[in-house]
């Protein structure tokens, strides 16, 4: 009924919590992109010659590519020469050697975001790599991890210190020719995280990266590479926020995961980029390519994402199931409100025998937003005995939003088994009335109903973050009932 809708509308309108700007001196490139900019970027990072060549090759390929237009989203044309491709807080030295040397202003920023970088504090069981605009500013727990043989550092450091590993794997899962945004990222990526877990090692703690965009008119192009060697295990989580600005900002990341024989990678994302205001002004364009290769037999890659931020999201974390008996999983909650648009889903490419994949996608649309699930399940001729289970549920809040499902299934192997389930439901007036009749605030009622809808996905998140994700949903829903 009208009154209920109005209430729900009010619920969804809460201010974005992480919208502050850190006042810090930065070295920022002039907007624009050309070979010189790339060379300067590479030089600043003291990269070896091969890296610059790699970037330039990607740049030339990118120049020939077209921006994709097939997604169910609309946004003004991006002027790639109006973006600055590098911004970093000024430093006295080249690199802070320890946390004590990190600018206190930056430490304060992360504290405010709830990610303290002091190793003894709240997130004591989680190692953090903090990426601020274009650079990694601090990485915690390096020593205990090194003892276990785990490499956890910024990708810039990895390029300098572990060139063999980087050269062996970088671009093998997402080649620069893969798509327009991956091509751009390959040319200009500034920082990101590198993880290597050696044979037989179970990573002793959760690893995480916290991405923060601070500077205006800057794009963030991070690159993450995670390699799990034979029989190893790692759980990794990323979080992201940005200040509130009227202009859109571009975030085009590439994430590559490689799991060798019997290895497991669990990758979780809590994405809370600034979504723009109630009128749809501002917000981050989140155009991201994430892909994992189950290279080895019995390997497993599991993606869990909670996407509540960004003005426009274009993201399909995928698995290439090459090793026999390998397993791919995708658990997703995507919530859009106001004028947010999301086109997200996954690709499960079955190559090996007896490979299996599971897709659980929960889309929640509120306000005037648009939320699309797009998924591809593909069985190649060699995928004997492979199977997939897909479940796509959409929840609508109010009557001005939209939910869309675009499932693609291609099978070139007759023994493959596919199951697909899809539902669409509404937070009904009856449900709201029941909750309120029992004395529950409308706001609490909506968040309880939505949390219930997402339960299957939340239980996949590392415990420390499941509660956070629930809270984040609550905040993102504020004022949504409409």
């Amino acid at each position: 009924m009208a009154t209920t809708d109005q209430e729900v509308n009010e619920l969804i309108k809460r201010e974005y919590e992480h919208g502050f700007v850190t006042d810090i001196e930065s070295d920022t490139f002039e907007p624009g992109l050309n070979e010189d900019v790339i060379a300067r970027l590479s030089g600043l990072k003291k990269e070896p010659e091969w890296m610059l060549k790699w970037r330039l090759k990607a740049y030339h390929r990118w120049l020939e590519m077209d921006e994709p237009d097939w997604a169910h989203v609309g946004y003004p044309k991006i002027d790639y020469n109006a973006i600055s491709y590098y911004s970093a807080p000024k430093r006295k030295e080249d690199m802070p050697q320890s946390l004590d040397e990190v600018d206190p202003e930056l430490l304060k920023t992360y504290e405010k975001l709830g990610i303290p970088l002091h190793e003894r504090e709240k997130l004591a069981g989680v190692a953090v790599d903090a990426v601020f605009d274009s650079v990694s500013v601090a990485t915690t727990f390096k020593e205990p991890l090194a003892k276990a043989g785990v490499i956890f550092c910024s990708i810039s450091e990895a390029i300098r210190d572990y060139p063999e590993l980087v050269q062996k794997y970088l671009g093998t899962v997402v080649p620069h020719s893969d798509n327009f945004f991956a091509g751009l990222n390959s040319a200009v990526f500034s920082d990101g995280t590198f993880v290597y877990v050696p044979k037989g090692v179970r990573c002793p703690m959760e690893l995480s990266t916290y991405f923060r965009i601070n500077a205006a008119n800057t794009g963030q192009f991070e690159r993450t590479l995670i390699i799990a060697d034979e029989g190893s295990y790692v759980s990794y989580l990323e979080g992201c926020t940005a200040p509130m600005r009227d202009e859109n900002q571009l975030h085009a990341a590439v994430v590559e995961l490689v799991a060798l024989d019997d290895a497991q990678i669990k990758y979780s994302t809590v994405q809370n980029w600034y979504p723009g205001d109630e009128e749809g002004k501002g917000g981050i364009f989140n155009f991201v390519t994430k892909r994992g290769a189950c290279q080895g037999k019995n390997s497993k890659i599991s993606w869990t994402q909670v996407e509540t931020g960004s003005a426009v999201t274009w993201k399909y974390p995928s698995c290439i199931l090459k090793g026999d008996n390998s397993v791919g999983e995708f658990y997703s909650v995507a919530l859009t409100n106001n004028f947010q648009q999301a086109d997200t889903g996954t690709k499960m490419i079955h190559l090996g025998k007896n490979t299996s994949s599971t897709i659980i996608s929960k889309g929640i649309s509120a306000g005037r937003s648009s939320n699309a699930y797009r998924g591809l399940v593909k069985f190649q001729p060699g995928a004997e005995g492979a199977r997939n289970f897909t479940q796509c549920d959409s929840l609508l809040i109010g009557d001005r939003c939209g939910a869309h499902t675009f499932p693609y299934i291609e099978s070139k192997n007759k023994s493959a088994i596919v199951e697909h389930e899809a539902t669409t439901s509404k937070v009904s007036d009856e449900q709201m009335f029941l909750c309120r009749q029992r004395g529950i605030d409308p706001e609490q009622a909506v968040s309880m109903i939505v949390n219930g809808f997402c339960k299957e996905v939340f239980k996949e998140l590392p415990m420390e973050f499941a509660v956070e994700a629930g809270k984040l949903l609550e905040v993102s829903l504020e004022g949504s009932v409409g």
């Binding site: 009924m1 029941l434 309120r436 009749q437 529950i440 109903i449």
Partner: protein, 254 residues
């Protein structure tokens, strides 16, 4: 406790309630009977504050306070409880979580401390036995996959946990077999107390064999056309609604 004066209400511009007058005192059990479409369910929904219905005139007070000024959740916190005829499902939200949230909302309103999960679990287990629901139902989603009878028992479970001042039971007997009817009635009888009133809305008198009312009112065409004691219900059963000159679609179709 509850005072209804000349209450008119409509849904989508169609007037359903056409001047209801009713006084209910603490400790009393009232039954409202009437054929389908007489406005019984509308009355319960309006009292609970369902915004699908519009009150066009009249007044309702609960212990002297104007009820119609209050939001649905505020009425609930003041002690109005509605046991639904068709309880809705809330998938993924466990019954336990839902019930604890409700109980704590009430406690908070009364300035009491919230109950922690362990305390509440203990209480909920005890009460669920009282309505013959296996405690495993507490872990399931609210009404998710419950049978009709289980849903009704779950409603009474909620009433027992929330301890309202006025419990309104909307067709709580519908769809129950004789055993379930007994369990539900026992639950309602356990609610009876000197400082609580119960308003039962029902089509049939069989519920009143188990929960004996102090007063019976017959609702037809949006008005109470006859009031009396327990004997009125028995007379109605014997003679049918036609005795009062009311057309009952269900009787007609039988």
């Amino acid at each position: 406790m509850l005072s209804i004066k000349n209450l008119h209400a409509s849904v989508e511009d169609k007037e359903i309630l056409k001047g209801i007058n009713l006084e209910i005192k603490a400790g009393e059990v009232h039954a409202i009977m009437g054929p389908n479409g007489s406005g019984k369910s509308t009355l319960s929904q309006v009292l609970a504050g369902n915004e699908a219905f519009e009150v066009t005139s009249g007044e309702v007070t609960l212990n002297g306070e104007n009820l119609l000024d209050l939001e649905t959740e505020e009425r609930a916190r003041e002690g109005i409880f509605l046991a639904f005829q068709y309880p809705v499902e809330i998938p993924g939200v466990s019954n336990l979580q839902f019930l604890r949230t409700a109980v704590n909302a009430m406690r908070q309103h009364r300035g009491e401390e919230e109950m922690n999960a362990a305390e509440f679990m203990k209480l909920a287990r005890e009460v669920s036995k009282q309505v013959d629901l296996d405690p495993s139902f507490l872990k399931r989603g609210v009404n998710e996959g419950f049978s009709g009878g289980e849903k009704k028992r779950n409603e009474i479970l909620q009433a027992l946990l929330l301890q309202p001042k006025l419990a309104i039971l909307d067709e709580t007997d519908s769809g129950l077999d004789i055993d379930a009817l007994k369990v539900v009635s026992d639950g309602v009888n356990a609610l009876r107390s000197e400082d609580r009133a119960i308003l039962m809305v029902t089509h049939y008198q069989r519920l009143l064999n188990h929960i004996v009312p102090d007063y019976v009112h017959v609702l037809a065409g949006g008005r109470i056309i006859k009031s009396g004691g327990r004997e009125l219900a028995l007379e109605l059963e014997e003679k049918g609604y036609g005795w009062l000159g009311i057309k009952d679609e269900e009787e007609a179709s039988n």
